[in-house]
């Protein structure tokens, strides 16, 4: 698996361990254990060079604690407003959750492959995300909104465990207003919940898809993506037109450490976004 890898302008190919200093400009608590951090480069020359494509991630580094791969969740057309949405789960992400506005982090990136939305002009798009999987596809939503007329029908199918776990709830209306048909579902409702109950793949039933015109982007727990893929295949969507974002342990993001391997792929440099056609031989192999 050897795609043409473009080294980002803010990564020095000859010394890719070098980091950039960033400061936290704003923090927004999204749900109980998830917050979005807006980061600002200390060096304005670096800020100017910084660009990313939807789907890419940065390595966020807290010295003495460690580094984590975190997707960029903001608008690719406004790279100066750089957001990461992070769930506190372990040592690095919990330490990040204790940081405050003005604190410094170090960052390397951006790394990884893109959701190839620029190739989807004139086509219909289904975005199917679960849980925190909405963060890595939000740049796609921005990208489409910024040039909505260039795309056909666009659906967003998003689900979380409970209404309290839904991300970015304040933005759904805005997405709907730009003609992104947004369907939200939860696994388990509560007293106030009047929306859908069920898993994301079950939302496919209600879509009238033109199989040849449709491109599907899915991101979330692997099990959810597998069911989304099954729905797509049932609707005769070409495996080349289904895009998945894979997650594996990441230690370097450079293809050096070996941890992120998934069959022939290094998720860090060949991915994280792959076509289902690429992943098909491995996705259903247990423990691979």
């Amino acid at each position: 698996m050897k795609p043409n890898i473009q080294v980002a302008a803010t990564v020095d190919a000859a010394n890719p361990w070098a980091t950039h200093a960033v400061r936290i400009r704003a923090i927004e608590q999204e749900v109980s254990d998830v917050a979005s951090y807006e980061l600002e480069f200390e060096d304005s020359a670096v800020a100017e060079r910084f660009h990313f494509v939807p789907g890419q991630f940065n390595m966020l580094y807290l010295p003495g604690i460690g580094e984590s791969a975190i997707s960029i969740s903001s608008d690719p057309d406004v790279p100066q407003r750089l957001l990461h949405t992070v769930r506190a789960v372990g040592s690095v992400t919990r330490a990040l959750a204790r940081k405050q506005i003005g604190d410094q982090l170090l960052l390397r990136g951006p790394f990884g492959s893109a959701w190839p939305v620029d190739l989807f002009r004139g086509q219909d798009i289904v975005i199917a995300a679960g849980g925190l999987g909405l963060a890595p596809v939000r740049p796609v939503i921005h990208y489409i909104m910024n040039r909505r007329g260039e795309f056909g029908k666009v659906w967003l199918l998003y689900g979380a465990r409970s209404p309290d776990d839904l991300l970015y709830t304040s933005q759904y209306d805005c997405w709907r207003e730009t003609d992104i048909e947004t369907h939200i579902t939860v696994d388990l409702g509560d007293n106030q919940w009047k929306g859908n109950i069920g898993v994301v793949p079950s939302l496919f039933e209600r879509l009238q898809l033109d199989a040849s015109l449709t491109r599907v982007l899915t991101c979330g727990p692997e099990i959810m993506m597998r069911f989304v893929i099954a729905e797509c295949l049932a609707q005769k969507i070409d495996p080349k037109h289904i895009f998945v974002s894979m997650e594996r342990n990441m230690n370097c993001a450079l293809g050096f450490c070996g941890h992120c391997q998934l069959g022939p792929a290094f998720v860090c440099k060949d991915g994280p976004v792959f076509t289902y056609e690429q992943m098909e031989p491995y996705l259903n192999v247990e423990d691979f």
């Binding site: 000859a14 230690n251 050096f256 941890h259 069959g263 022939p264 440099k269």
Partner: protein, 370 residues
């Protein structure tokens, strides 16, 4: 020989060469000819490594030991960065590359191929590892042409030996009464010219050296038609035909479970393998947490940490980890780097405490596949 060691030192190299320590031939700092393992051979088999003395053995009739060039180019532990907290901000001190360059005497053809494979990982991808590059550019290789193979060697199957034809600065062939030296690079020629007492030999010496290599090659090729002597270790070989697909089409083969019953998941095979490159970066900080070192150490796909995700470990059984190791070595490596990840050095067979032999595992899968 001593003249060569001296000429390299004179030129500023730290010279490394094979010597006996703790019952094995390993690489270490070389001062003099006397440290070389003259008269020593190594007997190797699955889980077996034994040194023996042999009357007619020369300086280099041992084959490969547990060490390889990997430990010098991609050391087991390395500091990538140091950081210092100052006025609420981190100052990053980049890696220093001021160590003297190394000259290593002794790598075999398989080792040179292994180095070329690691070059692809650390130098030839989209990103370059600066430490590896600094050490690699400084490295001077004095390769040795094998005239003996261990039972565990199968470089002939992997097309990586036994004769080294490129990738060295100098290559030595040990003959009964002298060394034939082949020059592989311009600086190799320069060093050779500076060796005290060296003089060009008769062309017949070159012929004798070549004959010696061809003889070994022929005897290895004959492994497919000859049986090992009774009681002697099996002479390894590996049928590489369609090997990539053979393994990837058998990801659910029962053999993975069977080998896992014997495998201790000790990771020895990945540590001694000259091509395995997996590593982890960890943080080492002082008590005040104001000074941090980032250390890279070797790791292995046989550990749980290797595939850890907070949602669970991906490869949660020894069977899944052995399968990762073997399919990476022999199959997916080809997709990633256009070559096998195995050079047939046999180290993983020898240093496996229970003697698991990848050539046997592949043969077993092949036999039961139509």
């Amino acid at each position: 020989m001593q003249g060569l060691i001296d000429a390299l030192k004179e030129d500023g190299y730290r010279v490394i060469g094979p010597q006996v320590a703790d019952g094995a031939v390993v690489y270490d700092e070389l001062e003099s000819l006397e440290q070389l393992p003259l008269g020593v051979i190594d007997e190797q088999d699955g889980g077996v490594y034994r040194l023996a003395r042999r009357q007619d053995a020369g300086y280099f009739d041992h084959v490969v030991g547990p060490h390889s060039l990997k430990r010098y180019l991609f050391p087991p532990q390395e500091t990538l960065q140091q950081l210092q907290l100052k006025d609420g901000g981190w100052r990053v001190e980049p890696q220093q590359f001021d160590e003297p360059p190394l000259a290593v005497i002794g790598p075999r053809s398989c080792d040179l191929h292994a180095m070329a494979i690691q070059d692809r990982v650390f130098l030839e991808g989209p990103y370059v590892d600066p430490g590896y590059r600094a050490r690699r550019e400084g490295l001077f290789v004095v390769s040795v042409q094998c005239r003996r193979a261990a039972a565990t060697c199968f470089c002939h199957s992997m097309k990586t030996g036994p004769r080294a034809d490129h990738g060295f600065d100098l290559a030595l062939s040990e003959l009964d009464d002298c060394f034939a030296i082949e020059v592989g690079s311009e600086r190799g020629g320069r060093i050779l010219a500076a060796v005290d007492g060296w003089k060009p030999g008769a062309p017949t010496i070159v012929d004798r050296a070549n004959d010696q290599s061809s003889q070994l090659e022929r005897s290895m090729e004959q492994r497919s038609t000859t049986e090992a002597a009774p009681g002697a270790p099996k002479l390894r070989q590996l049928d590489t035909q369609d090997l990539r697909d053979l393994l990837l089409n058998n990801l659910d083969h029962p053999r993975w479970e069977q080998v896992a019953d014997r495998c201790l998941a000790c990771a020895n095979c990945t540590m001694v393998c000259p091509t395995c490159f997996c590593s982890s970066v960890s943080e080492v900080s002082d008590l005040t947490n104001e000074h941090v070192r980032r250390e890279r150490t070797w790791t292995s796909c046989f550990t749980a940490e290797h595939s850890f995700l907070t949602s669970g470990v991906v490869r949660n059984s020894t069977a899944a980890r052995y399968r990762q190791w073997l399919t990476h070595k022999l199959s997916t490596w080809i997709d990633q780097f256009d070559s096998s990840g195995c050079v047939g050095c046999g180290r993983c067979i020898t240093w496996c405490p229970v003697g698991i032999d990848l050539t046997e595992e592949v043969a077993a899968i092949r036999e039961t596949t139509k």
